[in-house]
Symmetry: D2
Subunit: 359 residues, 4 copies
């Protein structure tokens, strides 16, 4: 018996990534779909089919939509009947998320890929394998808000790979500071980025991204206190750029540690990280949270973004940093549309179900 | 009466960039050409024409070779007759440079774009408008080596934009440290970079580049002491990557200053920099050494690399840095094949001639 | 004394290309600007400045907007006061063009880059240097419609390079058929083409493009009859694709001729074409309508699209075709945003003024 | 018991594609490896490891080399001991192929991806599922040459997709003529194509490619006569260009048929093609030789090249052609490095083994 789930935002890119990660899933089945009023009342196939051209607006290049899902009715997200769904995946824009997610969380656990609730003090901002203990916040959230369910959020895709690697270092050496320069893939900007802007080019600015990376990373790395998160007092300097790469965020990171670490010790910290979590064997979990490359020509976004279905963070070029005290630097590649999006949300749901936090 | 000059390495990319910058030049005329033994004895047109296909190997996309130059004989670089040339432009590979440049420097000033002599204590490593006072070294060089001419070198193209902007900040605020991440254009790798490696990708490593950036920048920013350069004791952390951009190096720079500076003061330091030099009105000098963009979406390599024929360094996104003490950060775009290569070499020659150091 | 002109659609890409081609023009000055109601009442600088970010929406990468033009008031296109403008450049979307162009043409010659009137029997569809005799239609148009001015249209940018080269062949050898496959640049799709769709890819279909190429080409190549155009009965097979190239349309063309032609005769037909027109020395005219490359590696869009400021059509690889009777084939590169758009419109205006058809 | 095979050219791209297709193969195991004298005597891992950097020269991005194969000794291709290998895959350059392939074919069936023997009258040039009956030539080949084995060749990767689709049409409607324009992927040029040439560009010429497409296609489509192939008297006009696409050849094809065909009939001819072959269920065979897309936006090389592991030919935009008699046109995408290379060679071997032509 699979656990029924609902997917809100099913006609958009983020929602379709969730649907693709749920296709053939051993634990979940899609019981309800929702989108904006415009799509409501039609089945999913009709809802994503352009009426004039007959073409489907399905954005996950590596997969086709599931046949059963194509026949499901798309409901109006504002009046979603849950059909016994035990978890809601809310993959909608910020404004919609602010309004819709409390409607669902009143009843069932709601996993959000959107921004509005990420920094609320009683809402966990989690990366599977990194800070699942923050889910302890949901009791406080339920108490304060009088909800039976809760909202659990996933971070900005650029913060994801950074926070995973920083957590590995913080656990073993302690963190003082981080300087990060990102070269982000096009898919992170969705379908709004005109080809004219990015072909054979670099765009030096992504509005609001640097602030999000800073504040979200500090919350993720924080400690669960008494019904709240004590953010890690980490100084972060971020420069976020867009590169002419389809998917995968590349990040050049320099960190200042509390205690000195050699390259070998840093490598071991990365390779050892997250073993307890990966040992759970959840369906969408990677074998290794972090994959370390010895070849200095790696990681490359085109070659490494899809490693372990985009769920591992690939790290390379570990070496001492000349400027930061106890400095170490490295590059990472993280798949923005996998661990940092729909598949990461499904992995979180797998954990919730396994440990009785949902279902 | 124009001053005759010689160009060595005329069949290669770097030499052809020098030739393009000399085309129609008001002060110089090309009096002699040289290349490897293989090309010697033919005129330039024959030397760059593929015998089987009849196609020319001319690599400067924006220009055609000069008609008079096409008729010049290509000499063997090892036995170059100078034909009264008063300056030699040596644009050859490292191994050839080590052997050939002393042959010419024995007689005349030799401007080198190659690496071997850059870090020699008696050889100036100069960027026009930045550290031309280092040319004071040439007396010592002539004395030590018994040469009538001398070697003056230009830096690695990645160090060029970095050193220009750092110099502006050092003059006004003093420098403690710099963390730089580069996203370098393909043309910096020449014709050896396979398309298969870089299309829709980022390469995280450029062999030896990070070390060169560090040591060359410290020399350029150093002070001319008694017959030598006292390198600036600046801590530099560099990560050099290759991006899918045809030309132009983009660099994300964070600097720690000796004295605090606001964004406005930093902007003024950049905009005021090099005025005395640009006021000389040398033919290939830019109007401004540094062009500051207020639009956070700039500089972009495709839009800004060709500003002022590639001779200005474009800077944007000036803002405080959260990690480095008295930290400021910014991005820059520098044309690797203009100020950082052939056209920069010709600009240096213009200065040498104007101030009696050659001719 | 320059002739005053008006530019409608000044806030869009096409209108801005017209403005860029008019900047510093020896014959014209911009006397009036218009756009949609939304922009009306503000000066051009305000109209193109994003109020939240302060950034300008100016889309012509190679030029900055003219300072005098920045201060001009933008009028509502529906109630444009002409301010003595003697020519209107209408560079607007199809729906707007259908409504607006007759308003202006009632009073003054109106040059349109839009589609709605192209195929009207009394409206000339012209390419400067190809079929300017079609302007003879305007008398009929004025008579029928009771206008003092008239509408003259420019073709689809993909038809432009094709029609130029076919006309050269038709004049000398006669045409029976043409099979064309295009690889079109991104800028032809404007800012609507998502980077996700085209990076490292080819899109095999451009809606409606193939039909336009066919019908417009036959009209352009037609003969001016008695108040109408007798379309050339040319069979055209077109396949239009989008390539990962920023600008420039590349077209592989095979033609069946009425009379056999050798490669040399074809080359001569191309090189001789349009001499009378180019001899007029109009400011935006190319030196040669068609530039023939002997190097089989040319033309390439990146290297050749900007030849003669994008106003020449570059042709190469002329050779016999194995399938079509009296067949010849070749490739061409044509700059879709120059001769095929704003600069072509200005060149047409130059001709109208010189020959008393406007002003 | 798997059948032992040998792979010659194991250190090159083509040979490594064969090795990747053989990895985990149910019928074959790699018993011998060979390469040039330079690599001989070392094991495969040493042979592909750069001694200075320690990096592996392994070019198949989607796979890692098999561990057992890494330990195999690389022999000198000129003195290959077959170690009981029953089939040799010869994946070497033309010059080497001319010399080496007869050495192996003297003893065992030799499958060649190289050019030299393709057009020999007694050598079959085959595409699995298209003209396997041409293997009937090998008896004649053995008789004439006195060999126990034989050479069977695979065509140029650009001819592959063309010939597959033309064969489907020839079987049902008969063929008169074909006009093809290709937009070929970068990987077809191997690692020799400089990024500087192709980024944001189209190269209009691929030396010798058009002739190969013509002659090889006519041979593949020919009929097996009495110990020779009667080439199909098909007029083919080919224009071969290189596009900025990593892999996958896109081809726009117009064909003139002997008998008229509607779009639906053409679609059926494509979809029905090769059923007997695919029904054999050979491990590397596709489910369908040709996959027809109804969505006019498909096929696209990035989205469709990997369909069925690159072994199906994706076709779309089937429509009447306006120029050719009984004309039909379409676009296709074929993976140049799969059916057109290593994996196609392994599929051929599977057929040879199944039908007793090898083993």
């Amino acid at each position: 018996m699979k656990t029924p789930v609902a997917v809100v935002g099913a006609t958009g890119i983020a929602g379709q990534q969730v649907l693709a990660a749920l296709d053939g899933h051993p634990m979940f089945e899609v019981a309800a779909l929702a989108a904006s009023e415009r799509s409501a009342g039609r089945n999913f196939e009709e809802a994503i089919t352009d009426p004039s051209s007959g073409m489907r607006r399905w954005y996950v290049e590596s997969a086709e939509p599931n046949r059963d899902v194509l026949r499901l009715e798309v409901q109006d997200a504002r009046s979603l009947r849950l059909n016994d769904a035990k978890i809601v995946f809310a993959a909608v824009e910020s404004d919609a998320a602010r309004e819709l997610e409390p409607l669902y969380a009143r009843h069932v656990p709601t996993i959000s890929t959107a921004r509005p609730f990420r920094m609320e003090p009683d809402v966990p901002l989690v990366i599977p394998g990194v800070n699942l203990d923050h889910l302890g916040l949901v009791r406080e959230q339920q108490r304060r808000r009088g909800w039976q369910g809760y909202i659990a959020t996933l971070p900005n895709c650029t913060a994801t790979g950074l926070a995973i690697t920083l957590k590995a270092l913080d656990l073993r050496f302690g963190l003082e500071s981080a300087v990060v320069t990102t070269m982000q893939g096009i898919s992170g900007a969705g379908r709004d980025l005109p080809a004219l802007d990015i072909v054979e080019n670099i765009i030096p600015y992504i509005p609001r991204e640097e602030d999000r990376v800073k504040i979200e990373t500090c919350k993720i790395l924080g400690a669960l206190g008494n019904g709240t998160i004590d953010e890690l007092p980490l100084k972060i300097s971020a420069t976020c750029t867009r590169a002419s790469v389809l998917a995968g965020h590349t990040e050049a990171v320099a960190v200042g540690l509390k205690r000195p670490a050699t390259v070998d010790e840093t490598t071991a910290a990365f390779e050892d990280f997250g073993r307890e979590f990966t040992a759970l064997g959840l369906p969408n979990a990677p074998q290794r949270m972090i994959t370390v490359h010895r070849n200095p020509m790696r990681p490359q976004p085109r070659l490494d973004r899809d490693a372990e279905r985009g769920m591992t963070t690939s790290v390379g070029r570990i070496r001492p940093d000349e400027v930061l005290p106890n400095g170490i630097k490295y590059l990472l590649v993280s798949h923005n549309a996998a661990m940092g999006a729909g598949r990461g949300a499904v992995l979180l749901a797998e954990y919730l179900l396994r440990f009785g936090l949902a279902g």
